[in-house]
Amino acid sequence: MASANVLGPELVDSEQSSGRADSSERSAFWWYLARKIITALISLLVVLVIGFVLFTIMPQNPVESIARASGKPMDAAQLAALRKSLGLDEPIWQRFGIYVWHSITLHLGYSYGYNQSVASLVLPRIGPTLLLTGLSTLISIVLGLWLGSKAGWRPGRWLDRIASGTSLVFWSVPTFWLGIILLIVLGTGVGPIPTLFPSGGMTTPGFNGGPVGTVLDVAWHLALPCVTLVLVVFAQYVTIMRSSLIDELGNPYLLTARAKGLRDDDVLRKHALPNALLPTVTVIFLQIGGLISGAITVETVFSWPGLGLLTYNALKIPDLELLQGTFVMFSASIIAMNLVADLLYRVIDPRVRAQ
């Protein structure tokens, strides 16, 4: 076309500049990645320091605690030996060194409440916690985003009212209380409602039903804690999704999409959602802390054998090294999630990518 010729010289120019932008963009990404990882490592170090300070400045006498908790006689020599074996006689900086080393090697110190390395307590409980939080998050995300997008797409309609109302109420419910109530109603059976779910644990002791049976059995135990966590967490996702979608509603690109002849739900799915998801994704990742809080109380209420229950039990003694270990684990997972969120955001949002 005629106009193309007119515009000729400019094209060359812009292509060149775009080529340059590409390579610089790639190096910028590595730069960004390196920076983020370093930041995360620094955060981790800060967390380690905070953890150490918290659990070392605490007025403590773990040796006496063990002696008394054991209910068994111990003489002075034994107590001294215990002190030594716990490394309590070393100077602080040395203990910090050991502690950092233990954290790096995932040894995480020694629980004097359980007489085991914290790692051997923590590691087998990561699985159940991941299962519980992972599945609840997944369900919450699917449910929350789905409901949130439906509600936000047509704000003010009955679906929106119901979704917003429900999420508000569930947001206000203390997790542990909701768990207790569900346990009473569905785990014990109230009035005409029969006992539907087990009262705790992750599997039926002594039950052996092959792989399918085991999966069903775990699912059966998972139901109540999972539902509790979902109810509390999904409410937040509904709210976030709804409001970020509402933020997108007025945007002209949606009008463009409609003008192209797209069906309403395609406009939502192909255009509005990808944009509304951007802020939502970050928030979901940033809310991992809330999920951890939820897991601690839910696991406590339902005897779910995960890190949360471990924390609760450690808190009762309090088993400081164990608390420290779980604290570091939780913090590390949050830092990791933040890192993932940052990177993910960069991957999914081209605008950020360019910066």
Partner: protein
Amino acid sequence: MTAATQVPSPNQSVINRGTPPRTQALRNFGSAYVRNTWGMIGLVVLLAFTIMALTAPVWIHDSDLSAAAATGPLLAPPQHGYPLGTDQPGRSVLLLLIYGSRPSLAIGVIATVATVVIGAAIGLIAGHYQGIVSNLLMRVTDWFIALPGLPLAISLSVVLGQGPVSITIAIAITSWTGAARLVRAQTLAVEARPYIERARALGAGNTQIMIRHVLPNVMPLILVSSTLTVAGAILSETTLTFLGLGNPTDVSWGSMINQAFTQGAITAGAWWYVLPPGLAIVVVVLGFTLVGRAVEAILNPRMVNR
């Protein structure tokens, strides 16, 4: 000249108000708020609970709360004289419930004030001044965000010794980051607006810009965020108390549920001991949330347009 001959439309009111009263904005806000049904419901709920909490000591005596002086039947369902039944030592659950609002509300509000003051100050400074100060503040905020809320609060309570003071501190320390981030983001947004440039061009300095332009525009957000923070703080307080980090001799909603939980009231089917404190928490938290959302809806011009 045309500019000079511009005529006022006849129906415009020609009342000389002199210096326009600043209370006008407040009055507008008030009338808009009154029209917000859910906001009003939330407000009424909160007022009711506040009045209840404040006046509780006047008509609930120590003897009503003392297990030793309790005269009621032990863990009995609702009955005459005990509208919500009794707890294990035979105290009236209703009176405990009313009195229990005090620590929950007090801790919630105090922790929020601390949270918001710290968060707003840091967010405002980090947003207004560019450079090292801002970067450093944001780093610190990031570090704190990386700390898991409940475990940190647990640790702090363990370290600081149990009780309401530790819980308050723990909540404030774990939640100011949210406010700081929010305020900083909003400050940055406001600072990018041309009216800030106009103010600078008119001769305003840093402090004047922050106080005259940024703060008033950030304030509503702070207000909204603080009502939501109270809601969160109350939930945190009850959770920490439930986990046994409160003062077990205090009467509070969290400790009521904790006692019901540890004493086995659930087995006994003592719903009157488990349900009311939980529902009270839900209602109060909901109240704060509703008020927060109503304020947000009124103050956020974007939402007004919709």
